[in-house]
Subunit: 149 residues, 10 copies
């Protein structure tokens, strides 16, 4: 069984039950970020066994699918790059436009290293604004220095 | 004259004068974000004429180069995609892993639309952490709703 | 269930019932553009619940398919780029030939920004012409200025 | 001599003389669309000899460059596809999202054929709007029917 | 139902009945080129309703398939480009080797325009030759001049 | 010295002297097809020494360039595929649309083989037509049968 | 029915019956090269009807599959290029390393032409060697001269 | 200094002196294959110091170039893949058509391994044939077995 | 039957039985590296018949699947390159960053040759470290010298 | 000034002075790995100022080049991927063949995380072997666990 099949089944159940990702995440585990849990349900992160059990119950998944949710997936959510979907493309565009700037400024502030995408967390929220509400994303990733040896 | 030639000349001057992007940005215009100004110096944004004049003086640029800095560039800073440089790649990887999650959650919170990459601003700072300092990036982009007609 | 399966089922129903997109769109919602509704039926826009209900009834769709039509799709209608189909390729060719010209003239008229493809609408009509009728397309997209910060 | 070299020289002259594309086009030939003439100056269309002579005088071009402006160029203005520049990308995105819709509706209205990108003309203008001005583009292309034989 | 499925069914029927494309085309419509009809059966052109009816009868197709043959297909017959099949690759190679020559000579003879691939017809025949028979292809396409505006 | 440099020098000379490819070809060798000679001058075929000598004299080329014209070039005239130039793209489109049809009909008429692109010749001419003149291209290539062994 | 399905069925039968390609080829036709016949069974060549009949009997194929083996396939055996499989990649690497050398030496010995890959045959055998046996491949392809016209 | 510059200088000298690769190779070292030496001169193999000294003298190369010829190059002779040049493409086509066949037969004869492209040698010669001379290539590569561990 | 289907079935069985790769490998053959056996179960190496029999028994595979495990697979485990999965990407990144360094140092130490990826073995283990445990990979590949001939 | 120009100048100096990378690295800093220093000289790592000063003196570099060696480069050493050079390709092939195996085994031993390519070090040495010496590479990279949040 492929992870994509589980993702499709989850989306089908969510659609028919009229649930939101936030509501699902809250039921699966209110102590973890709903972003992390949504990513897991979309096949990009793994769930802990207890979380998967709740997900299976809530969404009507079988044993195989429940166990698959606990496996570490082959990550990569985009069917092609650059992504054709405009909502996702805008993030890609930020990398295209700001990529070299981020590199220069991380190096200037921290040294020869990277912002980890593994020891990483994020939040996403609505920022009310009279000129039109804004999407606010806060990311923090551990700075990792290139080891000299 | 190509914008890349200006960028190269700026980097040469910065290197020989031992300047930092933050210091350059502060001299060019302390009221604008140093991220925006660094991006402009790297060929991804434009400078205002007064800013370009200061940049030219500080970095020893000619008239043509000063004027080019005020032109809107053909944006796109990456020599190839996916970016081979690890510091930049990690941002690309976030889009790969979280792309569909961001899409789902933006739609759930806001509706059928996108986070603008044009009406957009950001900050980047050091987040002290006993387990290793972190890079903190805060982005806000205006939510734009798909027009129905 | 995948959106492509709904699109295929819609096309099958349209074919067997001998309907046109314009006629279908009119029945689904005469107050919205038939372009928007056709795009939704082809998997590129979403329908409002009332519209989807009418679409389902008209085209013999099930509950799952009706609900899927109300979901925001993963946009991108072309199986590959450049598009191999000549009718679509000609639009792509316009971007290839006029891309830099549009950029220059939008910047000259408006400043550093873009024509939105989100806050966007269009019409398409037949322009009678003795030398051969013409396809007339009118697009308007909101001008969005790059935010300085 | 390559056409790109002429384009670069034209842009250099325009920059140093502080001219706009509209002003240049008006001087070169007020009876032709400034879009067409801008496209020619950017290496995508040819100029007529009298137009090229005026362009050469206005922009300080040599004989070789003047003659090159009268040659039919190898068209294609984008350094890579998809275009990395956001202003141009939005047009590409419209083809991605609306490509199949345009195809269906052109066929429904006209039959088995295409909108010509050769027997084609366009205008671009500012559409004042209290919620933010809009870019308005009107294109007409001759409908060409697939020949049956 | 996808057009590829119809093509596959047609090829299966042709194979089991031991028919040739020429014979099939003659039965479907002796007044149209067998090239055009073969292309339609391979999913690149549409058939007229009367032709499709004959095709359906001859090849044992159902109603859905018959109607699909009358739809304008999403053109593009090659699974990948460059084509891996040697018989097709040779045509691609001609474009690679002669592309710029054709462009120069069409412009020299006709002006700034193209040979239409839409208002286009062709024949293919055997040219007896003592040193080995030759494939002779004659193509004519309408010259289309770039419109000036 | 690269062949592209010779091609560029030839185009420069042709432009400044106001010559046509046909006139140049006639002077170089009136007994060979002007298509073949034009292709050689564009870097896709070789010239015979006597032809190259005439080309050098006519176009003001040096000894190195004259000799380079007699070398068999690394063929391939397109800067990228699919070709962005519309005049050349239309030929590419014919391969895209008719590729599988040509394959089927060559096999049906001749057997398991190809139309050679090496033992190949062609003509291109204007076909007067009241509805608009047409470009007529006649190609013949030797049929080559797959050897069984 | 697709040729790939026949290939898969053949491989399944070969596996379960414990046959070798050489043994299969010998039974199908001992007078033709087992390379040619193996290539046909893998979907890259066609079989003669008598050969296909024997193949069908030996491998338990149905009528449709037998007939498909007599059809000229859409050639191209590699799922992607460069080939990921190391055994095949080494051949690709030879083309990468020796490609220009082969071109130069064929032209030097024969003139302006190619080694045919159509009028072509080959053998593959084991060359005993005390330092480790070697794979010996002998290819001959007809020299084809570019036609001048 | 780049190896390509040496290759270009070698080709220029060869052209002006009217030499052949075979003659050059014989003078550089009559005991090594002229294929190997030609490949080295084209930037794909290295020469031994004594060979490079002779090459430098014969072709008028400087000290830097002579030394570069003794360096192991970054191999890969094709400007793009698939190769656009027909003479080279035919070899690529053989890999495309016969790739899986070679794999199967090498495995059947030798086991789980490859034909080395490193411990490899080849000859190329003219095979007289009344129906047209043939290019004969003989390759032998050491069979390398996948190590089990 | 495709090898991917066997891999999927193996993963399904492993998941439902709660086994680890190490445990499976030990049962299949404790004398071979669990890396090699895991690679075989993932479709990149072959198993010996006795190993496959044990695998089949342990994982509930049928006869066809057991035999397929003994076949030499078409190698290449990545669905696309660069790999989107971060765990695998880091290895790819090492090749990107260190590729030319490895080449230079292998040549400097050994001469003109390669490290074999066929006569190759490896181990992977946990290296305890107070600052965080490390993954330790040891690879050895036979040095293969380019043959001169 | 571009980093590639520094790399080229370093290689030129190394060639003319007859130095090895090991000898250069030892002189620049005997306490750091010669792999790291070689990578820096090839444009993939940075040097410390004292190291760069020694490199400049040893290799005859100017001030600008010395300073550039201390800058963090835009990493990525391969002109194209997959790498065409066989010595480098073999490493790429290991990722292709073992990629999924490494992923599975790292996850099994460590959990949901990666082997860092940043907090990473390696050695490369000659492993004497009577059947042919071997290249031995030892890599260790810090295990980084995906953060849950």
């Amino acid at each position: 069984m492929k992870r994509e099949a589980v993702t499709e089944k989850i989306c089908d159940a969510k659609r028919m039950k009229g649930l939101t990702w936030k509501a699902i995440a809250k039921k699966i585990d209110p102590k973890e970020s709903h972003i992390l849990i949504t990513a897991a349900l979309l096949g990009q992160m793994k769930l802990e066994p207890a979380q998967a059990a709740k997900a299976a119950k809530l969404l009507g998944l079988g044993k195989m699918e429940e166990k698959l949710l606990c496996e570490i997936p082959y990550r990569g959510s985009l069917p092609q790059v650059p992504p054709t979907d405009p909502t996702i493309y805008r993030f890609y565009e930020l990398v295209q436009v700001y990529g070299t700037t981020w590199k220069e400024l991380i190096h200037e502030e921290f040294g020869d290293g990277i912002m980890s995408a593994i020891d990483f967390n994020m939040t996403m929220e609505r920022l009310p604004d009279p000129k039109g509400d804004r999407v606010k994303i806060v990311m923090t990733g551990k700075y990792l220095e290139y080891k000299r040896y």
